[in-house]
Amino acid sequence: MRVLAAMSGGVDSAVAAALAVDAGHDVTGVHLALSPDRQTLRSGARGCCSVEDAHDARRVADELGIPFYVWDLAERFTEDVVDDFVAEYAAGRTPNPCLRCNEKIKFSAVLDRARALGFDAVVTGHHARLADGELRRSVDAAKDQSYVLGVLTAEQLAAAVFPLGGMTKDRVREIAAERGFAVATKADSHDICFIPDGDTRGFLARRLGEQPGPVVDAATGATVGEHAGAYGFTVGQRRGLGVTAGDSRPRYVLGIEPVTRTVTIGTADLAGVGRIVTAAPTWTGAPPELPFRAEVQLRAHGTPVPCEVTGDEAGGLRILLDEQQRGVAAGQSAVLYAPDPERGDLVLGQAAIRTTGDRAATAGREPSA
């Protein structure tokens, strides 16, 4: 196959490209320049699109003897990922930009361009298993990235190659070291690549400005504080609420209402979510017959929860969790898995969380109108 290896400059994509070469593919490396104003050097160990990262990726490509190019996708990335990220927060939701990037950039803009240029597939260093069109969790549970790939469709998966899903991160680093890649010991990138200093609240404040509003206690309906911008909050958040409750019980963010900028907080007993209504789902294969039982993961690195999935009139899903969960935020994806301890949990698909409610409640909390 002629494959395009997306090379971020990190160790995972380096080894993925190397394994694609070993597998006998005709590999071309591409570094995606995603930031319109690229920093020369990495700030800390975080960002993934500095000039230095491009250099690291090119070094690996040169060692592998494969052609290497930089593709400038800054415009698309800004529109589809960064602006979307800001707009989601502004609407009181909590987006996942990595998932959005996979959906709109890596397996859409890049894949389309790759196909048009005569490539058969895109190789990435994601930790997830993909065989026979089935997307499954990585063998390395701690590094599993199937959640942020859950949005891919069968058609996208048919043109994707994830060589790392069957090995641990330690093994990836070993392979890199065996091959003498300078990136073998390069630190992982953890944060959102376009917020290299990790200060999401500061980033949003710069983009959205001050938007003060009330903090309301769900139990009493009383205004218990002021905030500078509802975008600084995520449902389930406990720290940094800036209010002192009368009693000593911890308070959690229960909801964010963007029009009145009201942040509702409450005690743990009110923070539980057992019922989720979603937007229209995407499936990694043939759509499963509704209703069905599955496990659902509600955020990156979240713990999967058994659930019952039914459809709703609007084309979305209703997900009834076996056990109430805290920190279920609108905007995040509910990624559905069919558990399979042998071959790895199978990703069925995902849907963006719209509203959430108590297990018993019929109506959801409405984070946005």
Partner: protein
């Protein structure tokens, strides 16, 4: 990859070393001696360096004392622009203006911008003709009475679109108002007639690796009466304007290359122009809407070619230069999109923007540059694949909405 030999159509980036250069350099590399030392080994090294200086001077119509060896074109450009600016402003603090073409190589542009940012220079950007040329009249207008101008710089031949300017007329225009004139002749030497003395310019940049010489070796030809403040301080080896132990082997190679390039110029230029015209005509046949950037192929300046004979610069509407380059590379054909920043991110060429091309045209262009090893087979190889490559790149679109 499985290609035997790539088809190299990127001689303006660098051109293969001439066998006689390789031989001269390896011979010299085997000999000990610092050209500044007083003993026999030092004297032998100095003799080799000075013979090279004379040979280079002869090839370019300069006097040996006007040759300053440098680490290449970039250093020569930096030295000329900054050095002339500093010296002229030192002599008269009103001289803070730099008059320069926006189509210069980054070695000039970024030097000028650095001076503007850190040294209080003011920049007057010259208007550039659609061909890429700067006219003496435009220069005269920009200079005014010249009293506040430190230095003017216009390249002899443009590295992207091959436009040759009438440098002698430009230098005379600058001298009319007492302003020193620098020209970057990196691409001109060996392709068109470059005579430093006859041109009247005060400072001229040249480099070895575009001529079949070594990389990292070049010269600034600097008139004796031109005041130039050094960039590199130290032993003062080069007229106290440039310091650093002479790289004798590289200097020997540089001189051999310049000599060969200049003395073989007429025949080679005719051959390059023939191949280039074939290339352009062939591409036009395969891709009828391809557009030639820069001067017409038969353009004339001061009774010489108005366009570098080895240069073909073409836009392919609806395709992205990046994609074209990649697809050609995958077929073993090597060319250039003209300008890549340090991260390798393609930006629309500043040269094309300077000549008034819209960003889409600028982004859809490729430079093919021929040189001393180019053959009809190279041109044929390109013509064999160009139509399907452009077709495919067009399907990939411009990546923009």
């Amino acid at each position: 990859m499985t290609y035997s030999e790539p088809v190299y159509l990127d001689h303006a980036a660098t051109t293969p070393m001439l066998p006689e250069v390789l031989a001269a350099m390896t011979g010299q590399l085997g000999r000990v001696g610092n050209a500044s030392s007083l003993h026999a080994s030092g004297r032998a090294a100095r003799r080799a360096a000075e013979q090279a200086r004379e040979r280079l001077a002869e090839a370019l119509g300069a006097r040996p004392s006007e040759v300053l060896f440098t680490g290449g074109g970039t250093e020569s450009d930096n030295l000329a622009v900054k050095g002339l600016f500093w010296a002229r402003r030192e002599a008269d603090s009103r001289r803070r203006r730099i008059v320069v073409s926006p189509a210069e190589h980054h070695a000039v542009l970024d030097s000028v911008e650095w001076l503007a940012k850190h040294e209080g220079a003011e920049v007057t950007w010259l208007p550039v003709e659609p061909s890429g040329r700067v006219t003496p009249r435009a220069l005269a207008e920009a200079l005014g009475d010249g009293s506040d101008v430190a230095v003017a710089s216009v390249m002899w031949a443009n590295n992207e679109i091959g436009a040759v300017s009438d440098v002698a007329a430009l230098a005379a225009t600058a001298h009319d108002v007492g302003v020193p004139f620098h020209t970057d002749a990196v691409q001109a030497v060996g392709q068109v007639l470059v005579d430093f003395g006859a041109s009247g310019v005060d400072a001229l940049t040249m480099t070895g690796h575009k001529l079949g010489g070594p990389m990292g070796a070049g010269a600034l030809l600097l008139r004796r009466d031109a005041e130039c403040t050094p960039l590199l301080h130290g032993g003062g080896q080069e007229r106290d304007v440039r310091s650093g132990t002479l790289d004798v082997a590289a200097i020997v190679g540089l001189a051999v290359a310049a000599d060969a390039a200049v003395h073989g110029r007429v025949e080679r230029a005719a051959e390059l122009a023939r191949l280039r015209d074939r290339l352009v005509a062939g591409v036009a046949e395969q891709v009828p809407d391809a557009q030639l950037n820069g001067p017409a192929l038969d353009d004339v300046v001061r009774s010489g070619p108005g366009r570098l004979p080895g240069n073909a610069h073409l836009s392919f509407p609806g395709a992205e230069g990046d994609a074209l380059l990649m697809l050609l590379d995958a077929r073993g054909i090597e060319c250039s999109t003209g300008s890549a920043c340090s991260a390798g991110v393609a930006r629309p060429s500043h040269v094309l923007l300077a000549v008034g091309a819209d960003p889409d045209r600028a982004r859809s262009s490729l430079r093919f540059s021929l040189g001393h090893t180019s053959t009809d087979a190279d041109v044929d190889a390109l013509l064999d694949v160009v139509a399907p490559v452009v077709e495919r790149a067009r399907r990939a679109g411009t990546g923009r909405r």
